[in-house]
Symmetry: D2
Subunit: 463 residues, 4 copies
């Protein structure tokens, strides 16, 4: 056991079980790059402002750079007896540069230090998610472009509803993930504010230059209230929410892959590289990646709930409860990045069984809406048109045939407005072609949507 930075006042020593229970080094080591960069910026500023001797600042910065390099290489082990990442790095610095190390903590508290480290981490990780989402978006767009023209059934209530283009279906996911990209790429206001300088709660008691460190660390400004700054974890909660929502989108796509990969649907063939077998049933080819992505949605939602429940009812300012902010966030970040990568890999290599899709798109009942629309355009109020169509559909179900197989005479028994021209409309191609408005599934609209998406993607990728 090691001397604590706050031992001065205490006569008894900390219980071993508390040591174990309260340590965070087993997980907050993840923050070492942020912690060191924050300390370098702080040291530079202390030197520049003459709060500590310039030479000490230089020695500290140099020591920190070396520690960073060693940690990145993995050549520097962690000491479990030092409770957290901050103490570990401070101890390393002490070993390497001696007494000057003691000056680094001037004008800083662990409360603003950890707020800074964590906010830096969330900013950077948001950027990684945004970047990886672009890869998934590229895959979806590419597959949509490749399969342009293929028809398939569109579903509502998981029932066949109307024919659509496979590309249109894939582009629906493109839109979902584009929204997620926007959320992760966008930094809300408090992510732009550097908390360093807030001290333990009341503000640093030294004439430090907050804007100088903020700018060095990539923030555009500083937090406006020290008490808020050390207790604010909104940025983490927001990340957790964005992650849960994005994972929910992934779970929806995963659910469709699971359904499409059944023998009964047979819409897709799973690539060997992205499916697994069974230890007992040699014939199985299971959509495990999709199931895992769907299953892991639970943990991203759980992580969000975890932090919200922790924050509820906490008085100002810093409370130790806040130590519980990190693990859920690290876990959601890892889960989400892994899930995006897996789904990008899966969607990139999955085989679309275009014959099965096309055949299914020919289910004649899916053309009922077109008949109803036809009647409406001929002047029948929509509700009556719906009624007439419903009766003709019932007839088809009874006979096991499609609408186009009914004779004109039979149709006209239900409505005299039906003419010969109806037959040209009762094909899936005609049905799709008719939905020719922005956002609709008509081939021209879908092509245009893909072109704009391609353009947007190129721009987004450049940055």
């Amino acid at each position: 056991m090691t001397r604590k930075p706050w031992q001065g006042r205490f006569s008894g020593k900390t219980s071993n079980i508390l040591e174990r229970f309260s340590q965070s080094i087993s997980f907050d080591r993840e923050l070492f790059p942020q912690d060191i960069r924050g300390s370098i910026a702080h040291a530079r500023m202390l030197g520049e402002r003459g709060i500590i001797p310039k030479e000490d600042a230089a020695v500290i910065m140099d020591g920190l750079e070396k520690i960073l390099a060693d940690l990145e290489k993995g050549s520097q082990p962690w000491r479990e007896d030092l409770e957290d990442v901050h103490m570990n790095i401070e101890a390393l610095l002490g070993e390497r540069v001696g007494e000057a190390a003691g000056r680094l903590h001037t004008g800083r508290s662990r409360n603003d230090q950890v707020a800074l480290d964590f906010k830096l981490y969330v900013r950077e990780t948001s950027g990684h998610v945004a970047r990886d989402l672009l890869k998934l978006l590229e895959v979806l767009l590419k597959r949509a472009e490749e399969h342009f023209g293929i028809l398939m059934p569109g579903y509502t209530h998981t029932q066949r509803a109307q024919p659509v283009l496979l590309s249109h279906h894939l582009m629906a996911y493109f839109e979902m993930f584009r929204r997620d990209h926007a959320e992760f790429a966008f930094l809300p206001a408090n992510m732009e504010e550097c908390p360093l300088g807030s001290g333990a709660l009341a503000g640093a008691g030294f004439p430090i230059d907050r804007m100088m460190t903020a700018r060095e660390l990539g923030f555009s400004t500083v937090t406006r209230n020290s008490m808020d700054a050390v207790s604010d974890r909104d940025f983490a909660a927001r990340f957790l929410f964005n992650a849960a929502l994005c994972q929910i989108h992934l779970s929806r796509m995963a659910e469709e892959i699971v359904i499409w990969a059944t023998s009964e649907f047979g819409f897709v063939t799973l690539p060997d590289a992205f499916s697994t077998g069974s230890s007992m049933m040699p014939q199985k080819k299971n959509p495990d990646p999709a199931e895992l992505v769907r299953g892991k949605t639970g943990r991203t939602i759980g992580n969000l709930m975890s932090l919200l429940a922790t924050l509820k009812g906490l008085p100002l300012t810093y409370n130790r409860d806040l130590q519980e902010d990190k693990e859920p966030l690290f876990d959601s970040a890892k889960t989400l990045l892994g899930s995006i990568e897996i789904m990008a890999g899966l969607m990139d290599s999955i085989g679309f069984n275009t014959r099965r899709l096309t055949e299914a798109a020919e289910d004649p009942l899916m053309l009922a809406t077109d008949l109803a629309d036809y009647l409406t355009l001929k002047g029948l109020p929509f509700r009556n048109a719906h009624e007439v169509t419903g009766k003709l559909v019932a007839l088809c179900v009874e006979r096991g045939c499609g609408l186009a197989a009914l004779s004109l005479e039979e149709m006209r028994k239900h409505s005299g407005l039906i003419g010969e021209d109806i037959f040209g409309l009762l094909t899936p191609e005609a049905s799709v072609a008719k939905r020719d408005i922005p956002g609709g599934t008509a081939p021209g609209q879908v092509r245009s949507a893909m072109e704009k998406a391609r353009e947007w993607l190129e721009t987004a990728r450049r940055g």
Copy 2:
């Protein structure tokens, strides 16, 4: 029981228990203003584009305006036998304008209609929350301005830490709610996209003008993919998250009020108008509004959980599960608006016991940091300064006195760096004055923060 809009194909009738179980009119009636405005915009466009006769459009719009007026007056009862708000309004329209009513549904499905209604509702409610938050912000700023100069203890771990200004403490909450205001005032991308025209899933089959209706309804553009548009509830999930986070902020303030109102703290006096008594204990004055606000945080978190769990794993496009999107949102909106109002009322009228606050601010142990800082400025590394101070504090605790009560000699036994000038520093006023950096609690900084907040608030209020 009434004929369903989709009865055509069915021979059996719907079970009574399903009627009851699946109805939504008991709660989605809340959407009537949005539903009618959406229908008016749709009818106008249908007429303008010649999709339905212009006279029919006029008749429909006129009928809808009257229905809207009657519903707003409360003079038009709802029919529980019609499953939802859309069917109710369509039936009312039928009664009033006859056959023309049947043309309103041309080029529209309940799927894009409900997506529109709900998005309009969430947009408007976000605006209401933002507006009400400005009232709470005004109260907090006003109270901070009124009490400028009053000292109190600042807490970490609910332990006295360093003296701060009461105004600084109140302004910490100002910052929290300013962030909430930003979130509610800001409409993310998909809130700017009108879903009308997406049809059931594949896009409307009529040459409707989507931009025309979008603009009339206040949207800047239209959704880009029909399949996504009818199944997207991101905007609702985001509202629920923002509401939960804002309520968590309220719960933190509420927790402090509860603690401050104890006999032991005695920092505030509850106004009669915002506290309640006990049926059994005549002397009690309970902080019920604060407790309720804190307790209601659970339901806003629960509502968020509810929608996220509902959305998880849903295949495209519309599924009836999505009917479950509304009640949690209505409930969180009502809870949050009520809680903001209550906390604004409570904070506006609560009495701050400035004598108790000031006395507590004089707890001499809170000046320990200042002693440590002093030693640091004299050249002692911060960690050693902390150690020396710790020992002097231990001495004080033993004697039950403050740091300033130690003699210079005693102090110098622990560090020769301590001089006469130390005594001028060991007052709460000096301590506060020293934290003179942006975001710190020094009076000048706090005043400046309040002035800027005042300016921002005036601007925000003008809109």
Copy 3:
């Protein structure tokens, strides 16, 4: 506005917005039967013990009986200006029996009163759920009995795995809901303890007889600590958990119905009485009840989250936060009872397409395990048997044929252990017959499981 029971000490009056915000009469009126029965028991005891005059007790009990009758008939309106159900009933009693009413609150506080009312409610509702689950269990067992002998594919990973009996599949749900029944029928320890007599927090100050009221109300004993008794809501949290888990089981069955009702699977035909149509697509027959049950799972999970978050971190004893315990519980109870009823109705009338099920069961790849088991029994280690089978399966997939279509010679190329006897094993009937152990899908085992289930159900129904 009305005089509050605690007005004595207050000079100002309660704010209108607080009145509205803190009222609970809009929902806790649901507790009136429990509240009145609790009061009758309390009054009787007060009279018997001579704490209030026996005549007063009689008058009170008589008045309460009449109020109960009127409320049950719906002929007695509620007063919104009285904050809760307790005040409403007390006021009614005052109007009806005059001054004696004032004696009812002797030796009782609203804190133990509401704890009692709510616990009584949860006990009774648990009983209702258990009773309704028996109806669902009856339906499942009946359908399993009716369809005994029908084969279908059993799935893992939603991939066809091995043939099973439809009855076996239905009985899997029987087991799930039997567990739920056990949980709702079982009253955990603290549901057997009557909290009445705990006073506001410290115990009643009158020599009341707690066991007397407890027994009258159906409890077997009394709570052991007054401070715990008025702040304990474990029983409500446990109900919410049991409800969420049961609804999750319903959601799993609902998901299968949705999948089975697709054109692609075609395993079931939805009854008209338990499906709905589309306003736009006349051919649709949607599994709305199943989708709603699945969707409503979110709210039962959300309700559990809500109460857990509310309870977290509350100090002893009663806090107003606890008022937030009722709405989630009422909502989950209503949701669950409705969902059980709907699923019982749906499962009772759903049509199983036995031809489709049987055809699907003949998918020859599902017999691969049987081939592997055969090889194992002939002495090949299981892992090698799996490998050989895998290769033969790959051959079948390549040729688009079943295992039984391979020639003996071809098979023997991969393993000389294979003999003529293999062909008798490669049928779904043989496969099913072989799993002849308790819990397995062999017809004899399934019949025996159904017989035991029938026996258990009869016993459970008798109570």
Copy 4:
């Protein structure tokens, strides 16, 4: 990379990213003792029933015993290239005993194997929690016994309400944790049913003896339906709920410690061994263990939400989503066991400041209920008595005095029923003594409650 047990049918190889994403060895290694004990029981039964040669069974069992010993010693490393704990152990067995190892998987699938392992784990961990709760209960009872007779304020709404015994307050927590103990000590029905023999989903295809393995592993019976058995995770959900509720109870006690440890309350002194200091503020002594326990409540709630969301809407039988069941459970188990230990340590060594508690108990306003009760006993209806008392309290607040400081004359102005005997009642001792009913705070009742608790505890500890 290693050959998979299911590689036979596949031609392509598994993607590296899927390997990483889907592995579970990084966490399910925790199950090794259960996995090996399950395998030993299975091997013994296979041998006894002659399904595999008896010598092979002996060799397997012997090999497994040695592997278990090595893993327990930590001398056997894990192979990350083998996806899970089952494959690792199977591979180790193969290395040690050669070909016989391949026979172990006869009549078993990973689906029933993992269901068994996990259920064994949850059973054992429930036992550990129950055992550790007894230690916490012992501490609470011991402290209550030690401090018998000390008065303190009892609170409702965190406002002083009525005097109670400190022992009574501590025993309220005893009751909470006794309920938790009951839940963890009690094994619900499906925890008594061994799933082994359920195969992949349809039941094992070999004539295995399920009851034999069940009994060897400590189960009283076997699961009744194979399809349910491999997909049931109710036992895990129930553990997670019980853990969350127990942690919530801990959070309530933790919240009180935080409040009691403030300077303002000063009810307790934190032991050095169970508090920590501040890196910036040398005078601080923070209740970190209590804050951490309170904060960690979020993660136990989040873990429960995680699994519930994962289970929602899963079709039968095994789906890979279920792999997500373990990490939340392991985390909640570890969190809860750690929190119980910490709170037992803290409560065992915390100092109660009996002087502060006793002084606070003398707050005269807490005697108002006694005055009201007095008036009630003299015949005034309770509501009027409350009113009179309220007015006298208002008078006291105005004057800053206690009720006992009012003159008889002054009191009689408000009610002629007040006599000399009132003064004997207006002490905290009299107040406490009066609540002399079971569960009340009168010293005799509290002593009796402690004696019964002591007796129960001795019995529970014996087992």
